[in-house]
Symmetry: C2
Subunit: 388 residues, 2 copies
């Protein structure tokens, strides 16, 4: 195992995201995947915040969402933007880095330093691209497990995450129950719905239909399928916001003069979405997008247990905190309730809160004091029970 | 004014949709548009069903939705599929063609024979393409008014339509109130929401980003932006279905073996959406799609009346029947209720029904007996009051 040095935080964003060297650990023996294939070596890029205590009992693993990464609580080295969960993770925050040792890894299949389609395929002298195997949420969790073991953490005080991060939380609790003292799946579901799969498929079709995608071999002439990836991001972005949030942000406001033009953006929401799309392509890899959305679509925790979701958690020692947001239509409260019912049926210790918010799915990332208080309280309680 | 002969119904679908000759009437003096431009000549393609009675009082105008057309109650001459509203319009149906003279026109800006981006630009020897002016829902209605006058109908017994067709119904009642005895706006809203605009913008971005679109001049080399138009249709199609309908139709069912593949469609919903996209491009023009979605996005009946929706209907003689479907999230019941409140404030005669259905926005096109009974009853009542 080798571990590269942490990148200095003060660096200005590099021009080429792919060239940035992320802090990582490499496992030469690699990882066996659910699809039957294996990848070796396995590299896991990660960041940590705070200090592991002497009893090694204060580690909290944060799992990131689909297009997130390991830069939870610090400026992003590529975009220069604040960490994606600085509202929740940091000194004195609900996930208090003065008290907890926080770990976050770039997911397997991602494009921020962990093994994924953009990384070099061993012996080929080129990226994996579409030769990267199909992966599952459980494969992502197995890769994180290797990192946690490497960091010398025998048991995680908590695993926390929203959206796809929440799927990983559930898979952690189901696959490594003795490793997880407490679990907080947030704004998530035990499987992707038909509608979620459909929206993902639109994004994939947009990428596939971009001639610059070139069947996934876009690295060959140094181009990226920016148009297709941008459209994919635009449609996904709509699903992250509630109708109320879109209306509050933009309503039907026009940009400048209300001219009736054929080609230009006329409504503010249009230029906003285009901006979301065009900035995204600079930091995210199209083949990673295909790989990770497919992993989400495959996720079905009940199916992994003969159709019985409760069976995934039977006898679990983990304490659960389930949270949803009432305006989230991508992962609606009804799916969190189904999860809570299954956890109850498994006699698990579970608390559930539906947060009132009009921000939609994105609420889990934003300023939501009620949610932050509930999550912080759950974590402190878990730490007290664990004696750390 | 010239009127071309009706196409024979028994023809097999022509290979080239653009080459098909639709029944139409041409107005050499053209039409002045809301944007300030004018188009001349104005051609309106249309179909009629049933017979205009001696008193000319039994005419019902049906307005079609975004990608609909004039083939309401007969096989489509291009696709060979049944008329889009055969569940509602025909002998003995709620809109009874044994009793009523039903008119349906292809909208201005469309691509089934009415003046639109695919038609030849006068004096240019090429299609309008992106030189086609920006149009509004009111412009579409003004074009229909020319047709109705041409057909010798002094007053319409009813104007009926769903979705964008419902927007036209509202614009008819607001612009030509003395011409409209009864109006049935169905599954619609008095303006497009920010979320609706956002989804439309994704579709437009998909078309714009297809290199075959060529800035709108795709006719020059005989290609069409099929990939972009297909993606646009896919995302729109999701918004037409409820989550329940998608789940009932597809759930998370896999196609064939549950193989973990990178490139192929794996879920049934994926291949369904791809099929929806790929068949659509054979019958619809990309520049029409851009023109018509923009017209919907601009639609804001209150804004046309100083922000006061009720003012659009003050003193109206029209009787209204407003219908929504409880699982329609594209045009939710809340928007129909806002319309009804405005009609009440305008002292209009209005009845409102929310139909229970789990089919989403598409429900207005499908087998919904409760809706059909209510619409049929409303029309019969209107006919009795009008004495026809």
């Amino acid at each position: 195992m080798t571990q590269s040095p942490a990148p200095p935080h003060s660096e200005s964003p590099p021009a080429d995201a792919a060239a940035f060297r992320h802090q990582s650990v490499s496992f030469p023996d690699g990882l066996s995947l659910d699809c039957g294939a294996a990848i070796a070596p396995l590299t896991v890029a990660f960041r940590t915040y705070g200090t592991l205590d002497a009893a090694r009992g204060n580690a909290v693993l944060v799992c990131h969402a689909m297009t997130g990464d390991q830069y939870v609580a610090e400026s992003h080295p590529v975009t220069g933007k604040p960490g994606w969960w600085e509202a929740v993770v940091g000194p004195g925050k609900p996930v208090d880095t003065d008290r907890f040792f926080v770990i976050c890894a770039n997911v397997l299949g991602g494009c921020m330093g962990s093994t994924g389609p953009r990384e070099e395929m061993p012996g080929e002298g080129r990226p994996y691209g579409t030769d990267f195997p199909s992966i599952t949420i459980r494969d992502m969790v197995r890769a994180q497990k290797r990192l946690v073991d490497h960091l010398g953490v025998p048991r995680l005080l908590a695993v926390i995450g929203g959206s796809m991060g929440g799927m990983q939380v559930l898979e952690w609790a189901a696959t490594f129950p003795e490793m997880v003292h407490a679990a907080a799946p947030i704004a998530t579901a035990p499987h992707h719905s038909a509608q979620n799969i459909a929206f993902d498929e639109v994004g994939r079709a947009a990428i596939h239909s971009d001639p610059d995608w070139k069947g996934g071999r876009y690295w060959e002439d140094g181009r990226i399928p920016a148009r297709g990836l941008s459209v994919a991001r635009m449609v996904a972005h709509i699903t992250y916001l509630s109708e109320q949030a879109l209306t509050r942000k933009f309503g039907r406001r026009l940009r400048g003069a209300p001219a009736l033009t054929f080609l230009e953006d006329v409504f503010e929401v249009e230029s906003y979405l285009r901006h979301q799309g065009s900035t995204f392509v600079n930091r995210f890899d199209a083949n990673s997008y295909l790989t990770i959305t497919r992993a989400m679509d495959f996720f079905d925790l009940a199916a992994e247990h003969d159709g019985n979701l409760a069976a995934a958690f039977r006898g679990t020692p983990t304490r659960f905190f389930v949270a949803s947001f009432d305006s989230d239509w991508l992962f609606p409260t009804s799916e969190s309730r189904a999860l809570v019912r299954a956890l109850n049926a498994a006699a698990a210790n579970v608390s559930f809160v539906e947060i009132k918010s009009d921000k939609g799915h994105d609420a889990f990332l934003l300023h939501e004091p009620e949610f932050h208080a509930a999550l912080g309280g759950f974590l402190r309680g878990a730490a007290e029970r664990a004696g750390c």
